[in-house]
Each structure stands twice: as structure tokens, then as C-alpha cells.
Symmetry: C2
Subunit: 166 residues, 2 copies
């Protein structure tokens, strides 16, 4: 009985993903790329979650891959071309996406969304971030719907607060 | 003559990497991992530059790969093991690195540092970030010494400000 109570106490203080997740603004495949980038800047997010009509994440884009959506296809895979591009045009690529949507610019195939279950431990969240190289992880419920997200910054501050001496 | 002046005017307003780079705190291979992580949290950086004794970048670590330094070797490559690890220990991995140094925990071989020259255009910086999946790029001089760094956030705000109507 004492053992059970002790175990219960330990478990109560183990932080889980849903406890440190925050509500995230999201984008959809048919949103303009410019809207997605602006959202990330204004909300100071390290990435973006792209959801479908049922609010299920179809992609979790690290910030560098949101930036990638802005880069014209012809430059993405050719560093040599990027170096010789006329300087006058080099600043203007930002204005290039025009009416392109997030879906138009996504890699094909779309990589599997970086998600965890609500009861994932912080170690599981950390391992997912490190392995997927994504500073943003979506927390989804049993039906795959987005519950929130954990950012790298929030994970690190939560880890700094968590510990054996709480 | 008019043409030359016009070209000059255009060139003057093209932003280059050194103009948007900021001074970065750095770490060395023999610094403790805990110091590196704390530095990244306190300075709110999206990654860290690891330099040698001559202040030349030997690695540019995205935040997710700084986080990776904290994860014990045995969990890094085995998601199944991470899921079954005792919950009580799952929060404590943070306290694990102890006296381990950045060099002890770096991937082997160390990936080539993500750098650009001071006169790189913002398109070159953006392409480097997207291709290396690094929200931090080091700006180095001719001798390979660190001059500063460009963060993803700074690049995006600079792009939003730059444009044809400046």
C-alpha cells in the first residue's frame, strides 16, 4: 500500500506532453505561402502545423522548411545557381510566391507529421524533436486531431523546471 | 555613366549577410553540454555555433541538435526503448549529461558547419538555411573566423523589410 502510494506520487509529478502543449495557430494546404510565413513571424513560432479540414495535422514544418516554401523551385536544389543569380533579384524572391499556396510548395511526398500522444513523456517529445529535426511537435488525440503543440523553447524550460527535487 | 550610377544605386540597397548578422555567444568542444543548453535558453537562440581556439566555427548546431546532446546515447536511435523507459526516469535525462562536454556528445563525423561569406545575398542565406535545415547560419571572414550569425527570425524580418519599393 505504501509502495502504491509512493508510485502514485512519483507518477503525479512526471510531466506529460499535454501539460506543456500550447494552443497553436495553424494553416491549411490551400492557404497562401505568404500568410503562413507572416503567421510564423508574428506569432514568433519555430515552425507551423498544417492541418486538414478535420483539424488533423498533415504536416509539421520546421521554420527552415516554411522558409523553403518561399524559395523558387529553380534555386532550391542548385546552390551554384543561387550564387550567380543577379543580386538585384536576390532580394526579391520574397515577393515571388504571389498566389502560391502551401500545398503548391510542399515537398512531394509530404513527410509524415511530427506528432506525439498527449501522455508522451518529455523524453519522448525530446527524442521526436531531435530525430525529426523539428523544433515544433504536434500533440494529437486518439482520433488524430490537433490538441496543441510543444515548441523546443517550451520543452527546454519545462525540463529545466522538472527534476528530482520538485 | 547614368547606367553605372543606376547599377550602383541598386547594388547599394541589396542586403548582404554581414548587414543582418548579429554577434553570437559561442561554445567550444570542451564546454559542458549543460552550459551550452543554458546559453541557448537564456539568449533565446535557435541554435549554437561551436568554435575552435581560433574562433573558427567547427559546427553550427540547430536547436534540435543541441537538445540531442542531452539525450543519452541509448535512447537516441531507439524510439521503442524511449516509449518503454520507466516514467520516473523519463524526466531525469536532463540531469544525465553531468560532466559530458559538447565534444563528447557530438555526432561523429561532425557535419560541416553551416556558413556563408559576409557578402552572401539573403537568397543565399535562405537557401543555406533551408537545405541545411539550420535556423542559424554563421557568417565567416576570409580566414574562416566567425564574424556573427544570422537567425531565421532575423532573416525573415529582414526579407519582410527589404523589397523593390525601399
Amino acid at each position: 500500500m505504501t509502495v502504491t502510494q509512493t508510485t502514485g506520487t512519483y507518477r503525479d509529478r512526471i510531466m506529460q506532453a499535454h501539460e506543456i502543449a500550447v494552443t497553436l495557430p495553424t494553416v491549411r494546404m490551400d492557404d497562401p505561402v505568404s500568410k503562413a510565413v507572416q503567421l510564423m513571424i508574428v506569432k514568433r513560432l519555430p515552425g507551423l502545423v498544417v492541418v486538414d479540414d478535420a483539424d488533423r495535422p498533415v504536416a509539421v514544418l520546421p521554420g527552415t522548411q516554411v522558409l523553403r516554401l518561399l524559395i523558387p523551385q529553380s534555386y532550391r536544389d542548385d546552390p551554384a545557381l543561387v550564387r550567380i543569380v543577379d543580386e538585384i533579384h536576390a532580394d526579391l524572391f520574397w515577393h515571388g510566391p504571389g498566389n502560391l499556396t502551401v500545398g503548391d510548395c510542399m515537398p512531394n511526398p509530404v513527410p509524415k507529421a511530427a506528432t506525439v500522444a498527449p501522455d508522451a513523456t518529455l523524453l519522448e517529445v525530446a527524442t521526436a524533436m531531435a530525430n525529426k529535426r523539428s523544433p515544433l511537435i504536434a500533440v494529437i488525440d486518439d482520433s488524430g486531431r490537433l490538441m496543441g503543440g510543444v515548441t523546443l523553447e517550451r520543452l527546454l524550460t519545462s525540463l529545466a523546471i522538472a527534476g528530482p527535487n520538485d
